[in-house]
């Protein structure tokens, strides 16, 4: 027990000076003059506003990825004491003094800096020489694009950091530390999972191990690679949702129930409103699909034009539309067809699934109606109107059957916010639907509502939910607007569990679409490999100092070349081995395959999926793939030197070539440095000289 007294406490520090030196260099290159430029640079404008939202704890929705990355950036802001007060509206805008630029940019820069020693570690763990490992780290160190991306408040460097960390962790057979920053992280994760699966398969085939032992191994791996990441992922969302508890700019996209769980916004309105919809209830009905814009069922005094522009006729009855703003004309009263009254009895008689109801428009007291008249813009569907009796033998058809879609029992009560309902027309079995088309000027550009008859399949555009709700107490039309909320209390935020909120948020994130498809600096994946494109990040307001995302073309080209060489060599070896000719000793063959699977595979899984994506793509999307390619480069070089150079002379020559090539890369780094750090204003002539490719867009001021 007192063993520590008998032996002295010894701390053995085993410090690899290479790693220390690389870390120092990485920090130097990434942190040098970090708060310059003191202006919004490119996508900082985009991430910055999310940081502000975190600071103000406003809810937002971003389709680009899970919240960890944003939260990390926000952590930087929090540590720097940022209050979130900055208007992120323009690239190049000067930061005000309350923005802690340095600490906002610190985390990505640290991640970028640590990638350098990590590259070293990975190549070393792949059991290649220290020399190769050093080479990999030095290449990452002087890659201009990686430096630019890491020095700003952007997420790619963090993504790269975690990608490398996952790979390193797996190599060290520790737990996977894979978290998703952006959804691209998933691909690296899948790769690691794939490699792990192959290893596990070999493990199963290892007959020297007992069954129990194999089972334990497999369970341990499953926990490390599947369970932990899933829990972490959920945890990030949990923190995200806990942090963002106030209503914010993207409320409208979410369902009413979700909105009601946020502080402020809808919750303030719906708080304390009665839960069960009864005959006589006054309600607003929101379309669940909400595309192209979220909107509420609406009607107004104006009627459909007698004859449309294309010559078709209408019923000339009162228009029913879907209106994207709160309005007094959005109020409807649920009426029992058998009675005349528009007030709630006491006790209230709740409306249940399958009941027949009429919907009375609050301001005009006309009834929601549909009939066999073609809708204005969707001629295959029925027109929906508020019925006006013109005495032209066109009878009112205003009975609707209530169909609660998310019911649990067949007698379920219609609940405000929670119930998703469809209105099925009794006479024609048409379903009330938002068609998504904008009406022309006569309909004030509001959205068209139709009775869908042809395709009865379930679609969210046919589903509505009650958002605002109160029990109608007054018979008098004038007093209805002034009615008070009923006293029945309910707290909706407790009704929605974390998992429900998580799954809704996740679903919306995956389905939200940005329609801005064109950007000056967008590019296609094919442009990336050859570096045919660049992105101008920032231009000094007066001088021609500027920051570009522009790669070190020597590294870029040789990394691609290395990938090609690797694939060709691999095919060659595979074919030869198939004919039982082994060029490589078994251990170096396995090393060669594993390095390729992780590096070339990492490149492929981070690059190829972009060909299938339809969103706007930029050069920086290629950086994770590029990092893997860079790791492959020294692996291939060492392989050539070890196995393909036959004599000592060849080997020395090859080393000399490699040194020459590396100094060339350094030279390019140095030449492009002004565009990477943006610290030096170059003359137009110098800038023109830097335009090595036609397609590079370097900004040259005309009048200087």
């Amino acid at each position: 027990m007192l063993g520590f007294l008998q032996r002295p406490v010894v701390v053995t520090a085993d410090i690899n000076l290479n790693v220390v030196a690389l870390t120092a260099l990485g920090l130097l290159s990434r942190l040098w003059r970090l708060s310059y430029p003191r202006a919004v640079v490119f996508d900082e404008v985009y991430y910055g506003q999310y940081v502000s939202f975190y600071m103000k704890r406003l809810f937002f929705l971003d389709g680009s990825g899970p919240p960890l990355g944003h939260m990390l950036l926000a952590l930087g802001g929090y540590l720097g004491g940022f209050d979130g007060n900055f208007l992120w509206n323009r690239i190049g805008a000067e930061y005000s003094s309350n923005v802690p630029v340095w600490s906002l940019r610190l985390l990505p820069a640290l991640a970028g800096a640590l990638s350098v020693p990590m590259a070293y570690q990975i190549v070393w763990e792949l059991r290649f020489s220290h020399c190769a490992a050093m080479g990999a780290a030095l290449l990452v160190l002087i890659e201009n694009a990686l430096i630019t991306q890491a020095r700003l408040m952007l997420l790619e460097s963090v993504l790269i950091f975690f990608n490398l960390l996952a790979m390193l962790s797996y190599l060290k057979l520790c737990n996977s530390q894979k978290h998703s920053i952006k959804y691209m992280g998933v691909f690296t994760y899948l790769l690691v999972l794939g490699v792990a699966a192959v290893h596990a398969w070999h493990l199963i085939g290892d007959r020297t191990l007992s069954n129990v032992c194999v089972l334990c191994h497999l369970l341990a791996r499953a926990v490390a690679l599947l369970v932990i990441p899933v829990i972490m992922y959920l945890l990030f969302f949990y923190v995200h949702l806990v942090l963002l508890c106030r209503s914010g700019p993207h409320d409208q996209i979410m369902s009413s129930a979700f909105q009601a769980s946020l502080e402020g916004g809808l919750a303030r309105i719906t708080q304390g409103q009665p839960l069960e919809v009864a005959y006589g209830s006054q309600v607003t009905l929101r379309n669940v699909f909400g595309k192209p814009v979220p909107c509420w069922l609406h009607s107004h005094q104006n009627t459909y034009p007698m004859i449309y522009e294309n010559g078709r006729g209408s019923s000339h009855q009162q228009q029913v539309t879907c209106y994207p703003f709160k309005d007094v004309n959005n109020w409807w009263i649920v009426k029992d067809p058998g009675r005349h009254q528009l007030v709630v009895n006491s006790p209230p008689r709740p409306v249940r699934h399958g009941d027949i109801v009429q919907l009375v428009h609050g301001m005009t007291t006309r009834l929601l109606n549909t009939h066999d008249v073609a809708a204005p813009l969707s001629p295959h569907s029925q027109e929906v109107s508020c019925y006006i009796d013109y005495n032209i033998s066109m009878p009112a058809q205003n009975l609707w059957r209530l169909d609660i879609v998310n019911r649990e029992s067949s007698t379920e009560v219609w609940k405000t916010i929670l119930s998703e309902v469809r209105f099925v027309h009794v006479n024609t079995s048409a379903i009330l639907k938002l068609s998504g088309a904008h009406l022309p000027d006569w309909g004030f550009r509001q959205l068209e509502v139709v009775g869908e008859k042809l395709s009865p399949g379930y679609h969210e555009s046919m589903v509505w939910n009650v958002e605002e709700h109160r029990y109608g107490r007054s018979q008098e039309q004038k007093e209805r607007e002034l009615e008070l909320h009923s006293p029945t209390q309910m707290d909706l935020s407790r009704n929605l569990s974390f998992m429900a909120r998580f799954s809704e948020l996740q679903w919306r994130m995956l389905t939200v679409r940005s329609d801005d498809s064109e950007h000056k600096y967008s590019s296609t994946p094919l442009d990336w490999v050859t570096l045919d494109t660049n992105i101008a990040y920032w231009l000094h307001p007066t001088t021609s100092a500027q920051i570009h995302l522009l790669g070190n073309i020597v590294i870029w080209a040789s990394a691609s070349l290395a990938t090609v060489v690797y694939v060709l060599l691999l095919c060659w070896y595979l074919l030869r081995r198939r004919r039982s000719i082994c060029d490589l000793p078994e251990d170096s063959w396995l090393r060669w395959v594993l390095a390729g699977a992780l590096c070339a595979g990492g490149w492929a899984v981070n690059y190829l999926p972009f060909f299938l994506m339809e969103k706007t793509l930029f050069l920086y999307h290629y950086l994770p793939a590029l990092t893997f390619q860079i790791l492959l480069l020294p692996v291939v070089l060492q392989h050539i030197s070890d196995h393909l150079c036959r004599s000592q002379l060849q080997r020395s020559l090859f080393s000399a070539l490699v040194v020459a090539w590396y100094s060339c890369a350094c030279h390019v780094f140095n030449t492009l440095r002004p565009l990477t750090y943006g610290d030096k204003s170059l003359s137009p002539g110098e800038l023109r000289a830097l335009r090595w490719k036609e397609s590079w867009d370097i900004l040259i001021r005309k009048h200087q």
Binding site: W201, I204, K433, P456, G457, Y458, H459, K520, R579
Partner: protein, 748 residues
Amino acid sequence: MPPAVGGGLAGSELRVRRGRCGSQAARAVGPDVAVEAAARSHKRPAPGSRHFEAAGRWALLALVTLLSFATRFHRLDEPPHICWDETHFGKMGSYYINRTFFFDVHPPLGKMLIGLAGYLSGYDGTFSFQKPGDKYEHHNYMGMRGFCASLGSLLVPFAYLTVLELSKSLPAALLTAALLTFDTGCLTLSQYILLDPILMFFIMAAMLSMVKYNSCADRPFSAPWWFWLSLTGINLAGALGVKFVGLFIIVQVGWNTISDLWHLFGDLSLSLVTVGKHLTARILCLIVLPLALYTATYAVHFMVLNKSGPGDGFFSSAFQARLSGNNLHNASIPEHLAYGSVITVKNLRMAIGYLHSHRHLYPEGVGARQQQVTTYLHKDYNNLWIIKKHNTNSDPLDPSFPVEFVRHGDIIRLEHKETSRNLHSHYHEAPLTRKHYQVTGYGINGTGDSNDFWRIEVVNRKFGNRIKVLRSRIRFIHLVTGCVLGSSGKVLPKWGWEQLEVTCTPYLKETLNSIWNVEDHINPKLPNISLDVLQPSFPEILLESHMVMIRGNNGLKPKDNEFTSKPWHWPINYQGLRFSGINDTDFRVYLLGNPVVWWLNLLSIALYLLSGSIIAVAMQRGARLPPEVEGLSQVLLRGGGQLLLGWMLHYFPFFLMGRILYFHHYFPAMLFSSMLTGVLWDTLLRLCAWSLASSSLARGIHAVGIVSLLLGAAYRDPEHLEMHQLLLSTTLKPKQEAQSCFFHFLPK
């Protein structure tokens, strides 16, 4: 002695097959089958009974085929009106008979075959196929329906033979055949003039011939081997020639071939020359032959369709010049653009039209109040522009001046002929696309300012620096702002007469929206040449029609607020497709799978994955399996694996597709999953039977199992034959949505 694998019938099947195709070599089928065969060899029956069994097998095949034909041809003529997509494919068949050019997103073979069938059966191509529900009346449509139904009927024997070959088990094959024969979905889909029966025919034929040639692998370069190999190639060409979905079976055959070659390559007893021969044979039969056939179908397609028709507008001006009846056909115009030429400029993207201007100004608040410039789809005098030098306003048509050709990189001015205004752009935002600049007509009588100058650039500069009518793809770059003239394809509001917006885009990416070509060209100083000289060559036509097809396919996007079929709906039979019944006709036809079959298929896939992984893990752990189980496991892993691969290849890619999808897209995958069901249940029942050692009981279990499955599949049979009259009874509907749909279509 435990019962032999495969029992009586299957065992004899194996032996008969061996008699035909030589001994099953160890390499081809694997050592396990050899073990299995050795275990069984003492049971070889007398030659007489072999003949008897062979006859029995043929009789069974004949029975299966007959039943399949009988179900598919039963009341084929009903309903005597157009059902669903017959309106498209029947119409396209007629186009072939009338030799009218049309455009479709699918390759031509399927429609050509429909046209041929119609032609041979005496259909004269006069029916208009306007919309579903139109009565055929006296027109002869049975030839086309009969053709599709025959191909659809052949699916069943093909599946039967494929499963027989893969599992060597007659009950498995019978089960598969029953599943497909009694599946209402396959039945309905086979009865109409559609591409699907033809596509599925080629897919199944390719699969069958691939499996057959795999089992001839022990006798390479023999006649049957060559036969099946080249037949595979031919069927691949057929599948791809009907729909691009044929690519999936190509991937499957490709995968099979690569792994096959990989095995051969690893076989050190074969010399490299032999391996090279194998490789060459496959390249010849599986790449060269299909490509040649595929190209040949296009050659026939373009040869047959030589008259102008509804498809002209989708193709480039140069392409249209080859269609008789088109105004570009046999026309003669000057070949190269010169200053002073009067031209029309057409956008290269389809359905954009000609650069156009008219005497109307942009309304207040929309950029500068200058004359509108739009694109217009129809021929019109307002499409005419005069090409002028930027710095002089003298008339280039003055005979005293020499002819000066326009060259790549020249700076020009385009003057609108009717209004004498110049094509102009400036830093005002475009009316609809806010990030682009506005394009206007500016100036009086051709005198404007420096914003009227455009640099003309040829994108495909293989004709030298001059600009050739029809063939040169040109861009107009605005000199002052550096932007490119293009059309956004958006429709202008009423003030713009609902023509399309023209903008000047600052993004210099080469997209078709900003590339133009010169179509009409008038210049009295130049000699006219016949347009035939400019006609594109066959490879160019081929390339162009593929580009147009791909664009057409990508253009089929579902609308946001419409209910669309999603791939996950399909295997669970969530909702069908209405074939007939829009009008108040008596016939209601609804495409919906037989739930018994479909849900059994679904269950089987899950079971297969489970049992497959258990066996794979057991084998990887080196568990010693009895030879019978080992043999069955091989059938399950290899044969079943191929079928599972087929199912996945024909199903999962749809999840990635952005285009609009329909229920019937699942049917090729469904064929594979039915075959998998056959193999799986037979094998599982055999395994079950084997584990209950007693041989009579074992055989009993197997027999009872198979028979009950057969009966289960046939259970709804009477209803199925009534498909024309009635929707499937509601009790079979999986979801309430489908029910409401049913109620909805009941006669009032």
